[in-house]
């Protein structure tokens, strides 16, 4: 059988515990007092028996007869009527006995057969339903001490008994007093402890009341100073405070994100709405309508991109599913895909992308090229004139078209190095790029493939957007023990020192004056960070804004734990 113990309040448990301890100690007190009282009372009883027996001995007198015998003079004896006694002489002659006793014939310990037993022996006797303690003493009486030779000494044996019921009665009285006292204390201290505990737990209840007042609208939690200094409450108080602070921070972040997202979305919608209303403000020529429609389409592409990025961020920030096999993807393959997706952007900006070590891109070339050509995205950026649309289009492919490298779309902007990371690479020409003999470095990282590609393409797109024409963006993949390290380096204008801590913030755009013109939603780095964080990795960004230094530009370093 299994019992479920109902959780009780701490106060109740404490009261029960204290009362149980009290009860046990009361019982102990009663037992101890019983022993002590018995000892005490029986010692006094023995003394009394001795005293009375001695007074009996005092009543033994010279019988004034010829044999110089002794006799018991009972006339002067003042002893309690319930006591019993017998006096024997050395010859076994009964000198006298109390009236209420028929003799020791019934007495096992002090019978006539044992008149010479040891003196001072106390034996128990039951008489008329009463328990008696019987003391035997050997006494001597000197007859005619004034005569020559000191007179004659007669030995007598006195048996003196007294009922023990009085003693027991006294002992019981004392024990009863202790027991009653303990019980009374128990009854009094029970409610007292309850009251004291109630008072003692007051700070805890106050703390709970304060904590219960905290809500999403009011994060005020001001525990009294005593709660912080009380040893029992301090850990709870501190834990509550830190939890609330963290909660508040994340809640405010969330709220800020919602507010920012609302702002971005409303602005995007406002753009679209105003474009359409502007178009309908007056009659226009078909060419004007066409141009207006194209602008509206571009606006909705931006809105689409914003929504896609927000969804990607939400997905990247949601906790990884615990069921199913852990995701695993080759980072090198992701780099290859991302480079392929963004080569059109690189071509538009006239920026070279340098991958080290290059991945082996032969094999699926033709089918991928076909897929790439078929995608609507490609059409849109082939006809599009502006860079941001190409970027949009390329970004849109992340979700839909898993494009890989195709020889048909490879331009001179893509350079691949066959050298491994430790050997200084030489830039190869286009032929080398088209037929790389690179050693493919495999680095399997715990990420879903689409997230991994998104991570790399986000970072690469960022680098491309901030690269001046004719410059190079480098991607380097190395392995350190259990970590894959991806370094993406551009030779762009860099990031201002004061902007650097904020670049991973959502909707933060590093360069305010050019923020909107370079396109982008301000979510790319936030998404990248969320993806890296989810995989248990780290991302850091370093920048050298000084254009006079050869090392100027921005370097993003991603460290991901390798799965295999």
């Amino acid at each position: 059988m299994k019992f479920r113990i109902q959780p009780r309040s701490i106060a109740f448990r404490l009261i029960v515990a204290v009362l149980a301890v009290e009860l046990v100690s009361s019982i102990l007190v009663v037992v101890l007092s019983f022993g002590y009282e018995r000892q005490l009372h029986f010692r006094a009883f023995d003394v009394m028996l001795h005293g009375r027996a001695d007074s009996i001995l005092g009543a033994v007198q010279d019988a004034e007869d010829l044999g110089d015998n002794v006799m018991l003079d009972q006339a002067d004896l003042h002893i309690p009527p319930e006591d019993i006694y017998e006096v024997w002489d050395a010859n076994g002659r009964l000198l006298g006995r109390s009236n209420n006793w028929q003799g020791t014939g019934n007495s096992p310990g002090a019978g006539p057969g044992h008149p010479t037993g040891p003196s001072g022996e106390i034996s128990e006797l039951r008489l008329n339903g009463h328990h008696y303690s019987v003391l035997r003493i050997q006494g001597s009486r000197t007859i005619d001490p004034g005569e020559q030779g000191g007179g004659k000494t007669r030995q007598v044996t006195i048996l003196y008994g007294s009922p023990t019921s009085h003693v027991w009665h006294a002992i019981r009285g004392a024990v009863e007093f202790y027991a009653a006292g303990s019980l009374f204390l128990l009854l009094v201290t029970g409610p007292l402890i309850a009251w004291l505990l109630h008072r003692g737990l007051l700070p805890l209840r106050q703390l709970a009341a304060l904590a219960s007042q905290v809500s999403v609208d009011s994060w005020q939690f001001a525990p009294p100073a005593s709660a912080r200094t009380t040893p029992e409450l301090a850990p709870l108080t501190l834990a509550l405070e830190s939890v609330l602070q963290r909660l508040e921070r994340s809640f405010l972040q969330q709220r800020a994100f919602v507010s920012d997202a609302a702002h971005e979305l409303k602005t995007a919608v406002a753009v679209q709405k105003s474009s359409l209303q502007l178009l309908s403000m007056k009659r226009r020529s078909p060419q004007e309508y066409l141009a207006g429609l194209e602008r509206c389409l571009a606006d909705s592409l931006r809105l689409e991109e914003l929504v896609a990025d927000m969804l990607a961020l939400a997905r990247a920030e949601s906790p990884a599913p615990t069921s199913g096999p852990p995701p695993s993807v080759d980072l090198a393959a992701c780099i290859q895909q991302a480079v392929a997706q963004l080569e059109s952007v690189a071509a538009l900006r006239n920026v070279q992308v340098f991958v080290d070590p290059s991945a082996n891109c032969r094999g699926t070339t033709s089918q991928v090229a076909e897929k790439f050509n078929r995608s609507r995205i490609r059409k849109s950026f082939v006809t599009g004139h502006d860079f941001s649309r190409a970027a949009n289009a390329a970004k849109s492919t992340w979700a839909s078209a898993p494009a890989a490298l195709s020889s048909g779309t490879l331009s001179g902007n893509m350079l691949f190095s066959a050298a491994s990371s430790v050997v200084p690479q030489e830039q190869q020409d286009q032929e080398g790029a088209l037929a790389p003999e690179g050693v493919s470095l495999e680095a399997f990282v715990p990420l879903p493939p689409e997230d991994c590609t998104l991570l790399v393409s986000n970072l690469l797109l960022n680098a491309l957007q901030h690269s001046p024409p004719e410059s190079t963006v480098e991607l380097r993949l190395t392995r350190e023990a259990q970590t894959a390290v991806l370094v993406i380096q551009d030779r762009g204008e860099g990031i201002a020192i004061d902007a650097l801590p904020h670049v991973f913030d959502r909707f933060y755009r590093g360069d305010p004056s050019r923020a909107r013109t370079t396109g982008g939603t301000g979510l790319g780095l936030a998404i990248s960070k969320a993806i890296v964080k989810k995989a248990g990795g780290a991302i850091e960004i370093a920048s050298q804004p000084d254009p006079n230094l050869p090392s100027h530009g921005t370097t993003v370093t991603v460290r991901l734990p390798t799965a295999g």
Binding site: H263, K266, T267, A270, V271, R509, A515, R516
Partner: protein
């Protein structure tokens, strides 16, 4: 009328500028962040400032506060994506005259912009009746003593500006500042030609009346030189020329 548009979203700014130019015929200057907006607003040549709230470098509320701290009374229309009465109360208390929540209606924006400019110049009704001239700012039509006067857009804009300040000498420079944005080459003789044409057209409508636009040589132009005011016209308190 000249409007300063402070908005960081390029496409939205383009659309708004086009709408304000094409619709009511305002001159529009565009600032893409708060600092530039604040700088431009210091020129004090604007009849309205359309201000976005979330701006890079300096947010809209700060721009507004700086503006009002300089005792600049230019009407300010706030564009906001924020919801909530608190934010709106804060804005209005900081000196904003009106606000529009994104996404807004372009027609509403233009109507509010016109109303704010009108109010800023002391007129309540969109139709202004001054010195026998009736200017309907909604239809952009002008009548002199009931006779319709056909004006070119520039001539109309000059008259619309002058009619808000009757009997006050308006310098050529002031006219230029309020009618053209900063991309425009400021040739004062362009204004002279337009004012001359405007006067001719107004006088042609009512040949027997005295010329209504007076040229004060070297000082500027004045609407209604010697005529006493007629009827219940809304003559705003004369403002010092900027």
């Amino acid at each position: 009328m000249r409007v300063l548009l402070v908005e960081d979203e390029v496409r939205l700014a383009e659309n708004l500028a086009t709408a304000l130019r094409d619709g009511p015929g305002f001159a529009v200057d565009w600032a893409e962040d708060g600092l530039i907006g604040d700088d431009l607003a210091r020129n004090a040549c604007y009849d309205l400032i359309v201000l976005d709230l979330m701006l890079p470098r300096l947010d809209g509320l700060s721009v507004l506060k700086r503006l009002r701290a300089r005792r600049d009374a230019t009407p300010v229309l706030i564009l906001t994506a924020k919801d909530g009465a608190d934010s709106i109360i804060q804005l209005l208390n900081a000196g904003a005259d009106d606000y529009l929540a994104k996404p807004f209606d372009l027609g509403e924006l233009i109507a509010r912009a016109k109303a704010l400019i009108r109010r800023g110049k002391g007129a309540a009704h969109p139709t202004l009746n001054v010195l026998g001239l009736e200017v309907n700012t909604l239809e952009q039509t002008v009548r002199r003593q009931g006779v319709l006067v056909d004006l070119s857009p520039t001539e109309y804009r000059i008259l619309e500006y002058l009619i808000h300040r009757p009997r006050v000498i308006v310098s050529k420079r002031e006219l230029l500042e309020h009618l053209y944005d900063y991309n425009w080459e400021h040739h004062s003789n362009v204004i002279e030609v337009h004012v001359s044409n405007l006067r001719k057209k107004l006088d042609a409508a009512l040949p027997e009346a005295e010329p209504i636009v007076e040229t004060m040589r070297g000082r500027g132009y004045r609407l209604a030189p010697s005529l006493p005011s007629q009827g219940p016209d809304q003559s705003p308190a004369p403002e010092p020329a900027p």
